[in-house]
């Protein structure tokens, strides 16, 4: 049984982010609503950390966004965020000419508490993360 562990409904939290516009806060990236988004407010890299409610195994990251050019994903197993392992090295995403990007990354996170997205570059100066889904299951 696989759940979207990032969703606020399932206890996911987006507390740490390098950009903050109160109209488009990081919570908008995990609220399950595609029409809302977290926006970056200038310069790269930008980071967003999704904290899971419990140690979990995650097999897929699904990302809906606008304008991201290069992204990497990192996982931290400890309750207090510390050292992160790279689970997706820096990867380029196609432009989509300003329309929405929809990406699925197969990853291997065996026991993860925090998932960090690093946006290394954008196709424009400001980019949006509409929805992050982390497919996996909580460990017992």
């Amino acid at each position: 049984m696989s759940d979207n562990l990032a969703s606020a409904e399932n206890g996911g939290q987006a507390l740490i982010a390098t950009s903050w516009d109160q109209a488009h806060p990081p919570e908008h990236a995990i609220d399950g609503d595609d029409a809302t988004f977290w926006v970056t407010t200038g310069m790269f890299p930008q980071e967003l950390v999704v904290t899971l409610p419990a140690s979990s195994a995650v097999a897929r990251v699904m990302l809906r966004s606008v304008g991201i050019r290069r992204i990497s994903i990192h996982a931290c197993p400890t309750e207090q965020p510390g050292a992160y392992d790279t689970v997706l090295p820096e990867t380029e995403i196609a432009d989509g000419a300003g329309s929405r990007q929809s990406e699925v990354f197969t990853v291997k996170m065996e026991a993860v508490r925090h998932v960090k997205l690093v946006i290394h570059a954008g196709w424009d100066h400001f980019v949006a993360v509409n929805d992050i889904r982390l497919d996996g299951r909580k460990l017992d």
Partner: protein, 194 residues
């Protein structure tokens, strides 16, 4: 309470050695307190950050933190500079009105940075005619400077770092352009998902 919006932008300052790039940057950063009295060639790059408030139509407040990269104009550092230009969103080209060559070289500086960041993708560009305090020795007219700026869609400013006049205007222009671009981007990002 409404919290202020804070944007960030990387700005590069370009131009020949000795035109006053560092003087302009340092006078901007220090609110006119630190004119470099002795000429000290910039080794590679100098960097500073300054928050610049922008006027917003409604009652909310906005600030743009300008991360200013003042790269060396000396050819000696020509290989290093492009590394510092990556990711820049705005451009400030500086020439010395008493040295025609520094004005004619602006096109070359534009070509150099275009190899790293396409100028047309940038948020804003400015041309600064520095050393306006030496107007009687000017080799380049204001009209020539304005015409060059216009050709590239850049804003034109006359400045004297020595007299701390006209220094803040180009940076205020960059901050306002950044905020305008952000507002425009938000509309596009919202439209992309609706």
């Amino acid at each position: 309470m409404v919290s202020a919006l804070k944007l960030r932008s990387k700005v590069v300052v370009l131009g020949d050695s000795g035109v006053g790039k560092s003087a302009v940057t340092q006078m901007f950063h220090s609110n006119g307190q630190k004119f470099p009295k002795n000429y000290l060639m910039t080794i590679g790059v100098d960097f500073c950050m300054k928050p610049v408030p922008v006027q917003v139509a409604d009652e909310s407040r906005a600030t743009v933190e300008l991360f200013v990269f003042d790269t060396a104009g000396q050819d000696l550092f020509a290989e290093m500079a492009p590394h510092y230009w990556e990711g820049s969103a705005s451009l400030i080209l500086v020439y010395d009105i008493t040295r025609a060559e520094s004005f004619h070289n602006l096109a070359e500086w534009l070509e150099r940075i275009s190899r790293v960041v396409p100028v047309e993708s940038m948020v804003s560009g400015c041309v600064v005619a520095n050393k306006a305090d030496l107007r009687e020795r000017a080799e380049i007219s204001r009209e020539a400077g304005e015409a060059f700026a216009q050709r590239y869609g850049f804003a034109f400013f006359e400045a004297s770092a020595l007299e701390h006049s006209g220094i803040d205007a180009p940076f205020a222009h960059v901050a306002a352009a950044t905020h305008a671009r952000y507002t425009d981007s938000l509309a596009k990002l919202t439209a992309a998902v609706s």
